[in-house]
Symmetry: C2
Subunit: 426 residues, 2 copies
């Protein structure tokens, strides 16, 4: 008998039929003798619809910023609907089930409405529920502060609820059900030869998620890392009869057990980036420091900053940012330049960039990966506009119009392509 | 400064525009210096939509009966949505507001899911909210049991929440906002000359509500009676600028202060009734008693039962029931007859009846009201199939096809018609 936490996202509970399919899967696990805790998101577009309603009522561009407490009250109705329906559907399968709000499940958070952090999970009530033989259905994304105010966890909230519960319960498995059957070596819509990755390390998953792979939120992965909880990503649309789920999907784990490791595990990409080249600021640590402080003060995120000597004690600064932040960044730079006694720096912005991250713990201690990446891109005729690296990743910025070709070339070049289908021999 | 409880029904908060209108009204009361507690229902068809979803998921005819706990969890999301939106809209008017769930507002109920009774209202948090200068928005229809399970109050729930809160807070006024501007002397869709009743006694309101007047639920009126809380019924669609609401709508009060009282205050009606005449059961108290016990055992409601001597120590029994209960009633009667040693009684059912209740505390000590009602109906050519009376009401059953004519004749005959509009003389 195992204790399993299963999380189902909005698409997986997006219609009455899908809710029944989820219930059938949960009931199978329960009949195998497992204790099952189910974490659910709001159905399909419910959350977006509620946000639209809030905007219509308030006339505000950003109702969440103006009314964070009430926005949380509003949005938490979404999971309340899906969890009650899932509980009914499971009961219909002849398996007792009981839904619990974030508050009833004692997901205790801080008081930051719309972006609360989990402080603690007092899992007694969930544990009592499963030990009494019932399936516990817990609302994802929501919690309660110590002052008993309703909060929501913000982006990636339901994944985070699931992993937090799994950690607090000491669950044997944490399964994240979504609309794809695992983590892929690249986005299959862009790279048709992309392969499902059977096992991936927490660190690689964090890099891929941060770089744009949308399956798992980095925040939930991060919690998995800190508490040593393995997470399996699975499709809720693949039906595997009476087998358990080990061996399917992608296991995110501290120590993948693969015999053979490729240099790269996966590639992720995202668009909407720009570089800003600034010439004429004084050399020395103070310049990048003041720039970073200025950006932080104005709330502009920097993706990357590099400097190179220019001339006459001046440097060339290259900043990689979101395209939409170009103007705000230029304003910050002018203010910093003034402060540094170097007014009117020369600035040159280039938008329309895609960021491609190659991730693999296999690149550690394997020389030439960096070079291989550049050679592959050069042979594909794709220019690299900016580059950064970490111990397990190489990130390049390229013209977004060439994103697919770059992805394809790198995926093939690093041997990630799935083997061609073997023709049937009769 | 007054403490006011205002309740807004589903139609009153049915769209973003209507929510804004509610917010404007609440903000006006707050700016007058009043402390305002707002009780809201779910928006428009939300509750029905959620029930439909539950039926689609469970495939059950009556999901509430099969999954009462989860149905309550599901339905309570409805008020959560409306109360958060109303709170945002009030904040937008520049007036601080805070929404509270039934649980947060400590509406403590028993454990009967889908039809819970309020045991107690611990109004401290609501009181603290209004005393801190905020408007408190409380979810109607919902509560929490002592075991911290979420419950709903069933039919008339939001009205009941409002009156219960008003009683617990010792509010100065309890205002029920709906889509009509008060209680009418008859349904204006059936009787065009129907008048708004400025004041009505609790007892009359109970009779009218029980007889089918749908504006206020008897349960909420009943609570008003027991705690001596006056209730004002008002339209949320009539906008009265910066005046307070006294003198408008209908005041439901223990002691109406009208100078002149008519014999009747109002007439209400409902359809779907039948009479069953039973001949051949033995005379004596035991017969009606066994019938009433048998009906109660089978869960069939009796509207009325009368007996008359028949022949040979046998009686004629006339039972007034819902049309849909004819067969179940006949089964009960056969069982009772067997028991009384009088098998195979003669039964004659007549369906298609409307029940018309004439209500007025003015009929007490005023002889001839009964006779006047019969004469009026006779002159209108409407036959009375059955009749019953209480100290402040006369109820007749007539052919449903003649319901409107009967209502019209009684309304005119008892002087309830509004005066014809006076032609402009200028």
């Amino acid at each position: 008998m195992a204790l399993i936490v299963q999380k189902y996202g909005g698409t997986s509970v997006g219609s009455p039929e899908r809710i029944r399919a989820v219930a059938a899967r949960v009931a199978r696990a329960h009949r195998r003798g497992d204790q099952v805790v189910v974490v659910v998101s709001a159905m399909g577009d419910t959350t977006d619809d509620l946000i639209t309603l809030a905007h219509l009522v308030t006339g505000a561009e950003n109702a969440a910023a103006q009314h964070p407490r009430e926005m949380d009250m509003l949005l938490t109705s979404g999971e309340r609907i899906s969890m009650a329906l899932v509980a009914m559907a499971i009961c219909r399968e002849g398996v007792p089930a009981r839904s619990l709000t974030g508050s009833q499940a004692a997901i205790i958070t801080d008081t930051r409405h719309t972006a609360a952090r989990i402080l603690e999970v007092r899992a007694e009530r969930v544990r009592e529920t499963v030990e009494s033989g019932e399936v516990a259905i817990v609302a994802g994304f929501q919690g309660v502060s110590r002052a008993r105010e309703i909060t929501t966890l913000g982006r990636g909230g339901s994944d985070t609820t699931a992993v937090a519960l799994a950690c607090a319960l000491g669950a044997d498995r944490c399964e994240i059900y979504t609309d794809v059957d695992g983590i892929y070596s690249a986005d299959p819509r862009r790279v048709p030869a992309a392969r499902r990755i059977p096992e991936i390390s927490h660190a690689e998953m964090l890099e891929l998620a941060a770089a744009g792979a949308q399956v798992m939120h980095p925040r939930a992965v991060d919690m998995g890392v800190r508490f040593g909880m393995d997470i399996r990503v699975l499709s809720s649309f693949v039906d595997d009869a009476d087998q358990d789920e080990s061996g399917r999907g992608t296991l995110i784990t501290e120590n993948p057990t693969l015999m053979e490791e490729l240099a790269l595990t996966g590639i992720a990409s995202a668009r909407g980036f720009a570089t800003l080249v600034v010439r004429g600021l004084p050399a020395g640590m103070r310049t990048p420091t003041e720039v970073l402080i200025g950006m932080a003060e104005d709330g502009v995120s920097i993706d990357m900053i590099t400097e190179a000597p220019h001339a006459d004690g001046r440097i060339l600064l290259q900043i990689t940012i979101l395209e939409e932040d170009i103007e705000r960044t230029q304003t910050v730079i002018r203010r910093v330049a003034e402060k540094l006694g170097a007014p009117d720096p020369v600035m040159e912005a280039q938008g329309g960039l895609a960021r491609i991250a190659m991730v693999g713990s296999g690149m550690q201690g394997r020389p030439g990966v960096y070079a291989a990446a550049f050679r592959t891109l050069m042979e594909a005729g794709v220019d690299v506009e900016a580059v950064s690296t970490s111990s397990i990743s190489i990130t390049v910025f390229v013209d977004a119009a060439r994103e697919n070709e770059a992805l394809q070339a790198l995926h093939t070049g690093f041997g990630l392509d799935a083997p061609a289908a073997v023709p049937a021999t009769a």
